[in-house]
């Protein structure tokens, strides 16, 4: 590690030269490297944020003066305390924590699995399956496919609302098998289901959440605490005193999620939760689900269906793609497209299909078709997105949108 005096001198010189955000970030780094007293590290962090948000030059100058004082304080703190008992205790604590990381992790536990699961609706001649999936703790599985392809049927099979015709369902770690049959009431003590059509809540929102927690054995002080936690965690505090009818569709969905999560299920089944949410709320909910699934103390497995492909792909560990009830893809999201035979791109431009084909004739295009929103272009594997993009530019084609979907589940939708 560099010498504290030298680093402080350099940092002050940098800040005097140009008091920019980047240099202010260095104050935080300096504090992390040299401050022994935690309060000084905190000061650096808060000062950094204040500098970023400062509305005027005058304010920034005042904060800069505070930064110089802080650097001097940190230098003194380091010189006075680097060999102190506090510094040694901190070092020992850090080492102990680093060593401990290896021992704490989410158990690699399958909470739900199916083998050859099949369900047939005789009247409509629709068959879902066969489906073989494993849902693990801490993982999110995204189920995608067009409407009427079996997503909701699969979810209703998972929660025991429908019986399967063939194959088997297992909850390997729930201890719910009784003479080869699933004890569904016992299984549902671990599974929360948020359906697409949300049932109306009667009474106050808070009482509903408390009741849901109580039904799963969370009582007394713990009950209030769990409700407070989930309401705050999902950012619903402002709406807790409203009635169901006063909530927008988006908040109804978010409160339904809160009701499902308040009792800490190990498997969460959510059918189209993003349907009523605006784009920003979708991002917030998906990020919340990702982080909550990964909880160390209360990890859960999540299976989620959605038409918002890119958003679901971004948070899912695994993807299950259903087409007319059949599994077209089931595997790791990151492996999507690994075994593909061709590349696929989306392009939105104003020219007609024939002109586009003519202009891109040098690219060995395998197919161009319009899916109603944009063109879908298929090329051999060796024609990558850079080549296509270059050809579009070279040909002077004006376009509003271009996306490489070769490794996205979107590609499966756009197959002709």
């Amino acid at each position: 590690m560099e010498n504290v005096e030298h680093s402080a001198k350099q940092l002050v010189a940098d800040l005097k030269g140009q008091a920019q955000v980047d240099n202010f970030n260095q104050v935080v780094q300096f504090a992390k490297n040299f401050a022994i007293t935690n309060a000084l590290k905190h000061k650096a962090l808060v000062l950094n944020l204040n500098f970023k948000k400062a509305p005027s030059e005058e304010k920034r100058s005042a904060l800069l003066a505070q930064a110089f004082e802080l650097i001097a304080e940190i230098e003194k703190d380091h010189n006075d305390n680097a060999d102190s008992a506090l510094a040694h205790r901190q070092k020992r604590a850090q080492e102990a924590l680093a060593a401990h990381i290896q021992q704490v992790k989410i158990p690699d536990e399958i909470v739900f699995s199916t083998s050859g699961l099949t369900k047939t609706y005789k009247n409509s001649n629709f068959t879902l399956g066969p489906i073989d999936i494993n849902l693990r703790l801490g993982q999110i599985t995204g189920v995608v496919g067009e409407n009427g392809n079996g997503k909701t049927t699969l979810f209703r099979l998972i929660i025991g609302e429908l019986g399967n015709d063939e194959g088997s369902i297992d909850f390997p770690n729930f201890d719910v098998m009784n003479n080869g049959k699933i004890n569904w009431p016992k299984a549902m003590k671990h599974i929360a289901y948020v359906p697409q059509e949300l049932p109306k809540w009667y009474g106050s929102l808070e009482d509903n959440l408390k009741f849901s927690a109580a039904m799963h054995g969370i009582k007394g002080k713990d009950n209030q605490e769990e409700v407070d936690y989930i309401v705050t965690r999902l950012g619903l505090e402002e709406h807790i005193n409203k009635s169901w009818s006063q909530l927008s569709g988006g908040f109804k969905a978010r409160f339904s999620l809160a009701k499902a999560l308040v009792w800490k299920p190990r498997l969460l089944v959510i059918d189209e939760p993003l349907a009523n949410l605006d784009f920003k709320a979708q991002q917030v909910v998906l990020k919340d689900l990702r982080n909550l699934a990964n909880s160390l103390r209360f990890p859960m497995s999540i299976i989620i269906s959605s038409q918002h492909l890119h958003e679901v792909e971004a948070v899912s560990d695994d993807i299950l793609f259903l087409n007319k009830g059949e599994v077209t893809y089931y595997g790791k999201t990151k492996d999507l497209g690994e075994a593909r035979q061709q590349n696929t791109f989306e392009l939105d431009c104003a020219i007609d299909a024939k002109s586009l084909k003519d202009k891109l004739s040098n690219l060995q295009i395998l197919d161009i078709h319009h899916n109603g929103v944009s063109y879908v272009i298929t090329t051999p594997l060796d024609v990558d997105y850079k080549t296509v993009l270059k050809a579009l530019m070279d040909q002077g084609i004006d376009f509003d949108y271009f996306r490489n979907i070769s490794q996205s589940v979107k590609r499966l939708f756009d197959k002709k």
């Binding site: 970030n25 944020l49 604590a93 401990h100 605490e225 705050t232 950012g235 982080n291 103390r297």
Partner: protein
């Protein structure tokens, strides 16, 4: 990427969110942090209070109800509380490990 199981990585993640002016996300991850690592229940109650005050503060700021300096002062107070809580929980955790 943050290791879910590392208390120090998770603490740094929250500090990075603060540095990036994503305080709302920082408060949410604080709740997750407390839930995963704190032993004493009072920590969760403290974290819930911090998050709620931050939500109220954000609302007041968005509604233009607070002067800049007043909002900054209140936000700073919350940030120091968040950072203090992170330290306390890490120390509690390390002490438990040592024992």
């Amino acid at each position: 990427m943050t290791s879910v199981n590392s208390i120090s990585h998770r603490s740094e993640e929250i500090q990075d969110l603060i540095m990036s002016d994503m305080v709302k996300d920082a408060t949410k991850r604080l709740l997750d942090f407390v839930r995963d690592f704190a032993q004493a229940k009072t920590y969760l109650q403290q974290a819930i209070v911090i998050c709620s005050i931050h939500t109220r503060l954000e609302k007041q700021v968005n509604a233009g109800m607070l002067e800049f300096d007043e909002a900054e002062g209140q936000r700073n107070k919350l940030l120091f509380q968040i950072l203090g809580l992170l330290d306390d929980i890490q120390m509690e955790y390390a002490t438990k490990l040592a024992a």
